[in-house]
């Protein structure tokens, strides 16, 4: 139980210098960012290092920040060291024009479908993924529905008979 957030941070900074940045402890969970080119190197280091042992991928997903120009998409990894029972969150950002991020499937079999899901909803292109195709949506879909430019149906639209949808409709 000797592994602490400070220790992880120290080891990462020692290895990757200024590339790993923006360390935070949001509700006690160590969070940091790195350039997307380094994602595999960092995951591998976290996995292999004799002290860090982050060998369990809890979760992988993406977030869309449309105002974050050239870094619109964040890919978020949640890793867990089960021996010392400590978790961390690691983010890389990519532009929406060229959303290429290296796949983590070589390291974690669990990443396979999670990356497909992320591709399906955000269009992140996981370079080197063995089978990167849509998983939950229909294959014919030509957009990435969880991106922020696709809002859910506008609640103020008036071309439908709103009374049928419990929205009151236009009062005459």
């Amino acid at each position: 139980m000797s592994l602490t957030n400070d220790k992880i941070k120290e080891k990462l900074v020692e290895k990757f210098g200024e590339s790993v940045a923006r360390f935070e402890e949001n509700y006690g969970l160590l969070t940091f960012e790195a350039p997307k080119e380094l994602n595999l190197k960092i995951l591998q280091f976290l996995y292999d290092d004799a002290e860090l042992k982050f060998k369990f991928m809890t979760d992988l997903c993406a977030v869309h920040y449309p105002d974050n120009i050239n870094n619109e998409l964040a890919v978020v990894y949640h890793l867990h060291n089960l021996e010392d029972n400590i978790r961390l969150r690691f983010k890389v950002y990519t532009s929406v024009q060229q959303p290429d991020v290296y796949t983590a499937t070589q390291l974690f079999s669990a990443a396979n479908w999670m990356e497909r899901e992320t591709y399906d909803f955000y269009g992140v292109n996981f370079v080197g993924h063995p089978n990167l195709k849509r998983i939950l949506n229909v294959d014919e879909m030509d957009y990435f529905p969880l991106r922020k430019e696709y809002p859910l149906e506008d609640q103020t639209r008036i071309d439908k008979d709103d009374e049928m949808f419990g929205r009151g409709g236009t009062i005459v």
Partner: protein, 409 residues
């Protein structure tokens, strides 16, 4: 056993194909839920399997981005609908973590009673369905009667049975009635005998054991790499349990064992679930004892003191000024939601159910991601079934406890 051991030798020039493609699903009578598998069969032996999922995808993560926190609870019902209360409570606790709400002990213990009942009802289904798939229907019909007792308790607490929407952010919508506790006592009294009998029917049954042992097995190392959690991981011999590793809802106040298996095969998964039912039952008894220790006004506590987030009683909204104000503020999204990112997970009945919630301070989440255990471990299905018989693959699917609602979100 090599996968081609029983390979048929076709004569030279035969027009017969070596393998057959079989579409198992999406609505195959032998699978429980909407699953499709495209199997490549050599006789009855599976050469390769490819799962196609998403048949009941309902875009929960997108929907959640338009809903205030308290309206997301019904969405979570529809993930693993065999144990909805665990999903509901997990979501409430995620919000409570974001909003920094401390729940009273009594609420925690009541939650544990409900969550462990849900775990029992989930394991009841899973294990009895494994029985159905191996040809033993009786156990299933027998234990279903006792799931009914659990559902009656839910009904008494929240009014619903399957998709429960139980509780609120901060606690429960009302105190448990005496009838709820009576029903709980009835369940605690009657259920052990039933479960013992169920175990007697199965665990040492020669036919059942032969069907389950050495089928659908996975090593601890592969299971971890595949992101297995819950009973499936524990059956492979890894004692990871969120209730122990990251205690929530005061699980640290309780004594219970985390049963583990060894080979990770269908039989071990079955045994681990059987044992977990006993542990859940013990947890329920312990929690009920603790709940009974609260006397007087303490026994009336069923929610946290967090008026800015906990929806007030409707009858108070009609008669009391302050409650009316809070009701208005919560419903209209006037209460302060902190900015921040939270990852919170609970030990769902089939694994670690995680909620990754990003709040930008608005009334709805900026992003909400569900870590759905069955979505993650179902990817191992082709590896688990490669080279096995078709009929074993059906059992493997059941014993993984795949729930289509959770898989497809």
């Amino acid at each position: 056993m090599s996968e081609h051991q029983h390979h048929i030798k076709l004569p030279e020039g035969s027009i017969e194909k070596q393998t057959t493609t079989l579409n198992l699903g999406p609505t195959h009578p032998a699978t429980h839920g909407v699953f499709q598998n495209i199997l490549e069969l050599d006789g009855e032996r599976i050469v390769s399997a490819e799962q196609t999922v998403g048949y009941i995808h309902r875009a929960f993560e997108k929907l959640a981005e338009r809903r205030p926190l308290y309206q997301i609870t019904p969405i979570t019902d529809r993930l693993n609908y065999c144990s909805s209360p665990i999903n509901n409570m997990g979501w409430h606790m995620t919000c409570e973590k974001l909003l920094n709400i401390q729940t009273p002990k009594r609420v925690d213990y009541l939650r544990i009673i409900i969550m462990e009942l849900a775990r029992i009802s989930d394991h009841l289904i899973c294990n009895s369905i494994v029985g159905v798939d191996s040809g033993a229907y009786t156990g299933f019909l027998y234990v279903m009667q006792y799931r009914e007792l659990i559902y009656e308790i839910y009904e008494e607490v929240c009014g619903a049975r399957l998709t429960t929407n139980i509780g609120r952010i901060g606690g429960f919508e009302r105190n448990f009635s005496n009838t709820a506790f009576e029903k709980l006592e009835k369940f605690i009294a009657e259920f052990p005998k039933v479960w013992k009998e169920f175990e007697n029917l199965f665990t040492r049954n020669r036919i059942f054991v032969d069907r389950l042992q050495n089928t659908g097995g996975i090593s601890a190392e592969r299971a971890l790499n595949y992101g297995f959690t819950g009973p499936n991981l524990r059956a492979a011999g890894v004692d990871y349990d969120v209730r122990i590793h990251t205690p929530y809802s005061s699980y640290q106040d309780f004594n219970f064992i985390v049963p583990i298996g060894k080979t990770g095969d269908n039989y071990d998964r079955f045994l681990v679930r059987c044992q977990e039912v006993w542990e859940s039952l013990s947890l329920i008894k312990q929690a009920y004892n603790k709940v009974q220790e609260f006397k007087g006004t303490e026994a009336e506590v069923y929610h946290a003191n967090a008026p800015e987030y906990y929806l007030p009683l409707k009858k108070d909204v009609y008669t009391k000024m302050e409650q009316l104000i809070w009701h208005f503020k919560i419903v209209m999204g006037e209460t302060e939601i902190p900015k921040g990112e939270v990852y919170f997970s609970v030990e769902g009945a089939n694994g670690e159910l995680g909620y990754y919630l990003i709040s930008d301070g608005g009334r709805t989440p900026y992003r909400l991601h569900f870590r759905r255990p069955s979505f993650i471990y179902y990817q191992a299905y082709s590896e688990l079934t490669k080279g096995s018989m078709l009929s074993d693959a059906i059992i493997t699917m059941s014993s993984l406890n795949l729930i289509a609602g959770e898989l497809d979100a």
